[in-house]
Symmetry: C2
Subunit: 794 residues, 2 copies
């Protein structure tokens, strides 16, 4: 047993009781916070909202983390998986004083306690869950599944940090959580901190038993050992006994962690540690009402939310609530002014060591500017547009390699992806760092590295969770993903965007590095993998979210990709989505042009069209995305040769939110700007990378919208050739020429013949590929001579 004196034990218990009191008070009380007079119905909130069930367990964990932090001088962070137990984390933050530092009006006295209680789950107050508003948190407690991957993300490259992570038995059933256990095969005991999972089995979810809570203990232990952990059990409902067991388990766990780290850091031990894990079995709703209206509550699913629901109406409930609250003996926990007495605070750490005050949970405090190299070192040389080809992501890979090299000491940049870094052509990074891996290796393996900063696991959820945790604790990163399968993390990105939306408004939260997606292996080049791999809808998904957070870029070539990448890697508090190809792509813009174009976000490519500037164009060919850009440029060239005199304008859009009205998105254009690009009344044929109706949804308020015709992916896909994909979805250059002819009035019979010629090319190509299985080069290429412009620019 640990070396706790009776006084020390009593102080732990006093802190825990104080936190329980403050948590229950938040759920119930509008007034009379110290119960200085008998409880009256009007002291109780008219609407009772909150989750009591998990709260006493969270308070126990917090109390005991305080002890080990203080005793060992630890730097620690806690991820509260059962974050719907918001009252617990708020209570602890108030007790340690970090809450008052963030919110000075919530003072650590009776008046502040009353405000703490009232604001909880109350209009104009704070959410019932752990949220950005909660000091010390990097983890919203609403949607479940991400606690452990967030914890590992926080621990990576933080060698002196302990990240405790409470995992509820409900959350443990989710897929993302189940996958993230294997994160321990990626944790480097030398350069990373430690993660201490605390599996809290209180037996029930909302209305059902939890699976892990109902396994025989031997089976559960096999599972946890098979997941690479050595479980330590804390079980009980008698507080003092549980305090002793918990203190012992914490000490054992931290001793083992320290020993593993010491061995790896001093003697270079290579064996993967079997990291400790605490299994905490305490009753749901522990210390709350045992029975209500004759049925059991504590220890059952009925304790999940509000154990006593009829307090304002039912005098027996009111009395039971008062008895419950008084059972914590608030009169000995708080002084007459409502301040916690010294013994309650005996184990509370000081300053930044407090869980509610750690800078790791307010990562912007620790964030350093990322050393992105000058783009000139990586930009491709461009002579005539379209006369050379590069793989955009491969060039980006070289830039990322340089970022990796220049952060070798700092270790604050990571690249994550589901086993696709090389497939996405970013393999140049392996010249600078390897792939994190702590499991067994074989001679045939390549690029595995115990200290690597490329993170690959075939779980988009784990990748996303790692990166979120890494960013939220003040570091930088990039997630590269097949475009179709990023939908796997739709719901996670929702939550991260919501987090950023709120945290941006909190003065005490400092900006963090943006969450950057590189979506490649995109819809137009999944001809080989087929229909299941074709989905460009993530852009639609994120554009439904808060415009102050979301940015979407579709760079059409290599240099524009570099320019966009530089921008997003320096940006803060955004979710940036970049869609870019990995296949050889024509180079259209040199670096200077690319920078100007990306800064504008959308612009006219004079050299690609046939305007002479003397009048409005007859038609606007607009494009967004690499493949649509190529098709639009080719269409412009076909029109130049075949419909002479037609004034074609080519507009390229990199930053898709530019299409939105200026009132609706910070990047949105004014109507004057929009009209200047797209005209007010000329036909606009827009070739877009994704679902065509997105463009309508963005541009419906514009004058040109009446004449806007959008081509894009309309869910026609299979295993075929790349060009057959664009033909199947009517995005190809020949179809675009036909669209122009169909929409520009007065082109006459000559144009009708051109239209027929285009239709014939499409038919012939279709027959060709059915026969030969590959695209016909002359149908799919582009040459400078084929461009639209009457005369070259510059």
């Amino acid at each position: 047993m640990p070396h706790l004196t009776d006084t020390e034990l009593a102080a732990l218990d006093a802190h825990w009781r104080a936190a329980n009191y403050l948590a229950a008070g938040q759920i119930y009380l509008l007034d009379n916070p110290l119960l200085s007079r008998p409880l009256r119905p009007e002291d109780v909130k008219p609407r009772l909202l909150g989750h009591w069930g998990t709260t006493p367990g969270l308070n126990l964990v917090h109390t005991h983390l305080n002890r080990v932090i203080k005793e060992r001088g630890l730097e620690a962070l806690c991820v509260w998986g059962p974050g719907h137990g918001g009252p617990a984390v708020l209570a602890n933050s108030w007790l340690e004083g970090s809450y008052t530092e963030a919110y000075p009006d919530i003072t650590r006295d009776a008046a502040g306690m009353a405000r703490l209680f009232r604001q909880f789950s109350f209009p104009g107050g704070v959410p019932s869950h752990v949220a950005p508003e909660t000091p010390g948190s990097i983890h919203e407690g609403g949607e479940l599944g991400y606690a452990l991957s967030h914890a590992y993300g926080a621990a990576f490259d933080n060698p002196s940090l302990l990240v405790a992570c409470v995992i509820g038995d409900g959350e443990a059933e989710t897929g993302p959580l189940a996958a993230s256990w294997h994160s321990n095969k990626f944790l480097d005991p030398v350069n990373d901190g430690a993660v201490l999972p605390i599996l809290h089995l209180n037996g029930y979810k909302i209305a059902n038993p939890a699976v892990l809570a109902r396994l025989p203990e031997a089976e559960l232990d096999q599972l946890l050992r098979g997941l690479g952990h050595e479980p330590l059990h804390v079980t009980g409902d008698e507080p003092l006994q549980v305090h002793l067991e918990m203190a012992r388990a914490m000490d054992t766990a931290l001793d083992r962690i320290a020993a593993f780290q010491h061995a790896a850091r001093t003697s270079g031990a290579l064996e993967r540690p079997r990291w400790p894990l605490i299994v905490l079995r305490t009753p749901k709703g522990w210390t709350g009402p045992d029975r209500v209206d004759g049925v059991p509550v504590a220890g059952t699913w009925r304790a999940h939310q509000v154990p006593l629901a009829g307090v304002r109406e039912d005098p027996r409930h009111l009395r039971q609530l008062e008895e419950w609250l008084r059972s914590y003996r608030p009169e000995v926990l708080f002084d007459a002014e409502g301040r916690p007495v010294p013994s309650v605070l005996a184990w509370v750490p000081e300053g930044d060591r407090r869980l509610g005050a750690t800078p790791h949970a307010n990562g912007g405090l620790l964030l350093r500017s990322l050393p992105v190299p000058p783009l000139e070192r990586h930009a491709v040389k461009v002579g005539k547009p379209g006369s050379t080809l590069h793989e955009p992501t491969a060039v980006l890979g070289e830039l990322l390699a340089e970022v990796m090299r220049s952060t070798e000491e700092r270790r604050d940049f990571r690249l994550v992806g589901p086993d696709e870094t090389a497939s996405n052509r970013l393999q140049a990074v392996y010249d600078a760092t390897g792939k994190a891996w702590q499991a067994t290796t074989l001679p045939t393996d390549e690029h595995l590295d115990r200290h690597g900063r490329v993170m690959e696991i075939l779980s988009e959820h784990t990748c996303q969770g790692w990166l979120e945790g890494y960013l939220l604790t003040g570091r930088h990163g990039l997630f590269s993903c097949y475009e179709a399968f990023v939908h796997i993390v739709d719901s996670m990105v929702n939550q991260h965007i919501k987090w950023l939306r709120i945290s941006r408004r909190l003065p005490w939260r400092r900006p963090i590095a943006s969450l950057n997606y590189l979506l490649t292996s995109h819809v137009w080049r999944q001809d080989h993998n087929g229909f299941s791999h074709q989905d460009p809808g993530f852009v639609d998904h994120v554009l439904n979210k808060s415009p102050e957070v979301v940015r979407v870029y579709l760079p059409p070539d290599t240099n524009t990709l570099l320019s966009v990448a530089e921008h997003v890697l320096h940006s803060r508090d955004y979710v940036n989505v970049i869609v870019a190809g990995k296949q050889p792509c024509y180079d259209w813009l040199d670096l200077d042009q690319a920078r100007v174009h990306c800064a504008r976000g959308a612009g006219i490519w004079e050299w690609a069209g046939t305007e002479d500037g003397s009048r409005e164009p007859d038609v606007v060919l607009a494009c967004a995305g690499d493949v649509p850009t190529q098709e639009v440029l080719a269409a412009a060239g076909l029109l130049r040769g075949r419909v002479p005199g037609l004034a074609v304008r080519v507009v390229n859009v990199v930053d898709i939110a530019r299409l939105l009205p200026a009132e609706e998105h910070p990047h949105g254009m004014t109507d004057a700007e929009f009209d200047a690009l797209f005209t007010r009344d000329r036909p606009v044929i827009f070739a877009y990378h994704g679902y065509p109706w997105l463009i309508h949804r963005l541009a419906y308020r514009r004058a040109a919208h009446r004449q806007l015709h959008v081509r894009g992916y309309k869910e026609v896909g299979t295993t075929t050739t790349p060009f057959d994909m664009v033909v199947g979805n009517d995005l190809d250059r020949y179809r675009l020429v036909m669209d122009v002819i169909d929409r520009v009035p007065g082109l006459g019979v000559r144009a009708a013949a051109v239209r027929q010629e285009m239709a014939d090319v499409r038919t012939r190509h279709h027959e060709w590929i059915r026969q030969h299985g590959v695209d016909l080069p002359e149908v799919v290429q582009w040459r400078w001579e084929d461009r639209g412009a009457a005369k070259p620019s510059g």
Copy 2:
């Protein structure tokens, strides 16, 4: 060791070699299928697409499943998790003849073999992955993670079925797969069939080692035992030895399964079986080229796709390919006409027992019409609209209970959800059946039932996978989910919609029951859980997908919900999304009216507006969703009292795809229909349940679109009151009245005063709730007297 004679063993090996040959042939050959002459470059496809790595292992599994099916007379289905190994499953189907039955032109002879080879990953041919086109499959092999939940879904209520499930070591890293292991706590050995997981560890994913393949065997065994399985190991690269071990493992597994089922079914054994599982360790790309260009390929990540990539250009590669193909000795496996020789087919089962011919993989063959009771038994009585309130989902729960009762014997209907059935107010079903549960129970548990057909696990992924597997094998079901968190399965529903889109076009695939979502606990009533629980974007997500598959319904009250539910439960091959509230909701329509309204999908509610029919209305108030409908009706009432003479039309939309043009969706309206409802030129204020721009995206082509103003959820949320949620997003009745006044010309100063009155009410209410924490009843109610209509209808 099993009782295999040398002849029997040789036949297994011959079948496996034949399948390997046919698989490699699909990846490589355009012609010369039997290698009847030396291989020439032009015999080889110009574009080599396919995944060889996993293929020999899948062929091994298929070969050995054949044996046990034939020997034991089993009814079996196999879910091929590594479905990118499409060539394997196609090869086996061709060998057993089921392929030719589905596709008569792919005959089981040399000509058919040539077509089988050519069509693979070729334009106009078949995808490289297992797909709907693949006989015997219920599982697309593109996105990974869902194999095991699909397998369990297939096994539920199929007591005589064995569902084998191959899980790749890559897929095993995904969250959905990791969660689905616990499905064994929900499998009833009495009424359900068996699932035999075969964990195929070939060591590598695309470019990385797989985590499970790199655990020490003892650690892996702990993990698998902790997941409730008893592992059986098959390891090797020497074919005959592996055949013997695999046969032994299969026999052991099936003997144990039979014993468990017998014990449960005859003597009522209650202990949860530790179901067998096979761990199959064979090299990636086994039997393919060992080394290519001097580097190791077989047994490494380089074997993932095409081991020899330069066959047409490099004579050494061509020679190596020919040697590889000839190593299977095709001349002894196929006769001169290219037919498999009898010994190759010795272990192939007959008729429906063949894995490619099982009706369970073409569930429509087994599907029976669902006995949905007459709605009259559950419909609520409605006198004057809005004079009573019901919880729509609670009433639906009673109907579902009756469906449960009437399928008690048939057992072909299940309800799935992530621990939310009661929270979503469907708890009436517990009167008819319990919640499936095979783990430990306690006295405080409720409604748990070893034989129950309500499926609850806190994993949306597992719920979705179970239901998909259940539906694809010919049964019925409903998934009830919190609206916000259904995004967790965005990517899964993508894949299911893609599956249905393709399978609908295959004449041999019979229609299956639709996948039905009931999304409740929706955005407007997550005021208590806060911002993290507020997301109405799933509708946007699915409406990007194939219109022939997707249907979205927003019933505004209880009887419309019943009518929609009846429709979707009888429908086939759709994904139906129903968004409906669980909170008390005004009853607007009686059952007859509800049926007519739902059949039309959208209609004018004369009784709610102030038109007299003599002229076009001055304004259209449109609504979709329960909360918007209530607000629109209240706004119409406010306008009646305050702006007399204003002709207001109220239009309610249940079936949101009605707004699309008829050419774009089977439910879309013609312009004439649309104009008849919404007018061509009057202001339309549309109160929509979700993101407002969705309505613009659906209606941008309509004449009325110029005058369309949409209110909806614009990502403004927190923990507050229900009415504050609508006010915060400008969807409330007072704001709608202001919108009308702002948009209808010529209403004069009186209307300006009304506008100010409305603004004042909003401000006062805001102050009230900040003070009191609850909504002011008179601000949020609705009364019949307050309706818009000048005179009551009917």
